[in-house]
């Protein structure tokens, strides 16, 4: 309790400048989301893990000084040791280097496929939402058809048509995945189109292009980021699955999927050859998934203060 003096009891009223003052610091949507993300320890751990992963997939294959393709048959199937941290495979290649090289390919494939999916899905979804009516119906039907054909068939056939290459792998991976994005974008735009700020822009005379770039896209980014964060682990996982069917990457290129499927075939004898790539796959998938969960919370408008 401060000391009460008569001087403190003079009516001064409010100050005009003060009344509209905002005490909190200026903060943008993204800063706010980031701030909330930062408060989420699991998401932060995931980010840290992913950063380590990124560093490792770049540097990992070099750390031990072993080339991940050159074979050294004399050193085959060695158990983990101080020389070969994760052991060697059946051609005597350092598993530690190979795993990071595999993760590199896996992550890169996943990221590119995600980008493809996002770009195509967004365009497609935007077209559906924009044209509506008849065109929407037709485009929606196409999605339905693609969704009803088992994706495995599409994937294998695409790999057959385009040949077994990285490019066709990417196409095959993203071709069934974009539907979801397209649907989401369509729903989102349909919802945004009815939002008052878009009406406001229209009332101001804004052209469609402006509305798309100034309003639709920034407001969809959250959803797209979320979509990406769940799609990436999905792709890593799907690519791994394709490797089991022998339609993954072409050797000598390796991905985690290739490593796991090769490890599986010797799991009775050299379980570590399966264990390490599996572990890494789990960690990566888990990190992305948990980051996705964190992002969902951080980007959730309901939690905004």
């Amino acid at each position: 309790m401060p000391e009460l003096t008569p001087g403190k009891f003079e009516i001064i009223g409010y100050k005009k400048e003060d009344i509209n003052k905002i005490t909190r610091p200026a903060i943008s949507y993204w800063q706010d989301a980031w701030r909330r993300l930062k408060k989420n320890p699991i998401a932060m751990v995931s980010i840290a893990v992913l950063i380590v992963m990124v560093i490792m997939v770049i540097a990992g294959p070099m750390i031990r000084g072993y080339d991940y393709v050159t074979m050294n048959v004399a050193q085959k199937n060695l158990t983990p040791s101080s020389k070969y941290w994760f052991g060697t495979d059946n051609l005597g290649r350092d598993l530690f280097s190979r795993i990071w090289a595999g993760a590199r390919a896996s992550i890169m494939i996943a990221i590119v496929a995600t980008a493809l999916k996002l770009v195509f899905g967004t365009l497609y979804g935007a077209l559906m939402a924009h044209f509506g009516g008849w065109a929407d119906e037709v485009l929606m039907r196409i999605i339905e058809v693609i969704n009803s054909i088992p994706s495995l068939l599409i994937t294998i056939l695409i790999m057959m048509v385009l040949g077994n290459s990285l490019f066709s792998l990417l196409v095959a991976l993203s071709i069934t995945a974009w539907c979801n994005t397209a649907r989401q974008v369509r729903g989102m735009i349909k919802q945004l189109r009815e939002s008052e700020y878009v009406y406001a822009a229209e009332v101001l005379g804004a052209k469609p292009v402006r509305i798309i770039f100034k309003h639709y896209i920034p407001n969809m980014l959250g959803i797209l980021i979320l979509d990406a964060s769940t799609a990436i682990p999905g792709f890593i996982f799907t690519e791994a699955g394709l490797s089991f069917l022998g339609i993954g990457l072409k050797s000598p290129a390796i991905s985690l999927g290739v490593l796991i499927s090769m490890g599986q075939q010797s799991m009775d004898f050299y379980p570590y050859q399966l264990f390490f790539p599996c572990l890494l796959l789990c960690i990566i998938v888990m990190a992305f998934n948990l980051l996705g969960d964190g992002l969902r919370d951080a980007l959730d408008p309901k939690l905004r203060q």
Binding site: I11, Y14, T23
Partner: protein, 345 residues
């Protein structure tokens, strides 16, 4: 207020209620030391701006503040018939919620389970508190709907909330609330989302049931018209605190807090002249994340004094339970009267 003395008169006493929400942005001090009481059979209105903590207070009384985000600070007391409900055990809570005390929310559509038949939502309450059998409860539900004036209740119990209009939904909420003859009813802005014509109907039903069943009501609203219609006593809240409380007449005709003054004045009246400048409260309420040190209203108060910025004013008692927390009532303060214009200048 001596709680023992008022034991039989006061059905509810809230003392130094403090509630915080823990969010990513920090601790939101939603309610910051609220004290009031409610007499048996009385209707108390809590008025105040959006976000001042009215609903949180109501939820606290209803026992709906949940961790891990929500926290009722230690030292808070909510006494129902003299018992501190915050110390209730599971069974006591069960009897209290719905049986002794009921609540009606603002948005009836959101407050009704969209996937459960209306009749069942009412019957559910009856089955918990009156140990009724299913069929018995179902019959009673029809009666409840009839009582709140829903035509063809036999058919209506079989319908889902979305098949009801806004007014009818709110009536269903009232039916649920009254199903087990509570002694205390909390209405959290029950009519804000409704049209004036429907609002009248709802208020009438509440008043009617209140009188017939001698229920004590806490009516939360920011519509002074509704307050004038229904309340015997009023508590004015601002920024998580009660700044003034007293009988309806005290508050409307003899308000003592500058915020109450401003509130009453800013409501346009039908008897005013066209396009007059309305009295308004400038600025916006303080951020409950970082509430100001002194009087929370000081930033917008035309009677603000330096002391207001430094310390929280103490509560001054006027006659018959009329209280206000404002430095203007300090002996050292200059004498200020409530401006005599209403709703405009």
């Amino acid at each position: 207020m001596d709680s023992k003395m008022n034991e039989n008169k006061h059905i509810l006493e809230v003392e130094d209620l403090r509630v915080s929400y823990h969010t990513y942005a920090g601790e939101v001090k939603s309610v910051r030391g609220v004290s009031f009481y409610l007499e048996k059979g009385e209707a108390l209105a809590i008025v105040g701006e959006s976000g001042c903590g009215k609903s949180v207070t109501a939820k606290a009384i209803m026992g709906l503040i949940k961790g891990p985000q929500g926290e009722i600070k230690a030292g808070s007391e909510i006494r129902y018939n003299g018992n501190n409900i915050l110390k209730y055990n599971k069974n006591q809570w069960k009897d209290y919620k719905g049986g002794e005390c009921a609540i009606i929310f603002q948005d009836a559509l959101a407050a009704l389970n969209p996937t459960m038949r209306v009749g069942k939502q009412i019957a559910e309450n009856l089955m918990v508190h009156k140990q009724m059998k299913k069929q018995e409860a179902a019959r009673e539900a029809v009666e409840m709907l009839r009582r709140v004036g829903i035509p063809e209740p036999e058919k209506r119990v079989e319908q889902y909330p979305h098949e009801f209009s806004g007014g009818m939904r709110q009536r269903v909420m009232i039916a649920i609330a009254f199903a087990c003859d509570p002694n205390l009813l909390i209405c959290d802005e029950p009519t804000t989302a409704l049209d004036v014509t429907i609002q009248g109907q709802i208020l009438d039903i509440i008043k009617d049931l209140q009188e017939k069943r001698k229920v004590s009501v806490i009516m939360i609203t920011h519509d002074l018209g509704v307050v004038a219609n229904i309340a015997q006593r009023i508590a004015v809240m601002y920024s998580g605190m009660i700044v003034e409380s007293g009988s309806a007449k005290d508050i409307f005709y003899n308000p003592r807090h500058p915020y109450t003054w401003a509130l009453i004045q800013s409501v346009p009246r039908l008897d005013l002249e066209n396009k007059q400048t309305l009295m308004s409260i400038p600025g916006t309420p303080p951020d409950l994340l970082e509430p100001p040190v002194g009087c929370p209203f000081s930033t917008r108060c035309s009677y603000c004094m330096p002391v207001c910025r430094e310390a929280m004013p103490e509560t001054t008692d006027f006659r018959e339970g009329h209280q206000a927390a404002c430095w203007l009532h300090h002996p050292m303060a200059p004498k200020v009267d409530m401006p005599d214009f209403r709703g405009g200048k």
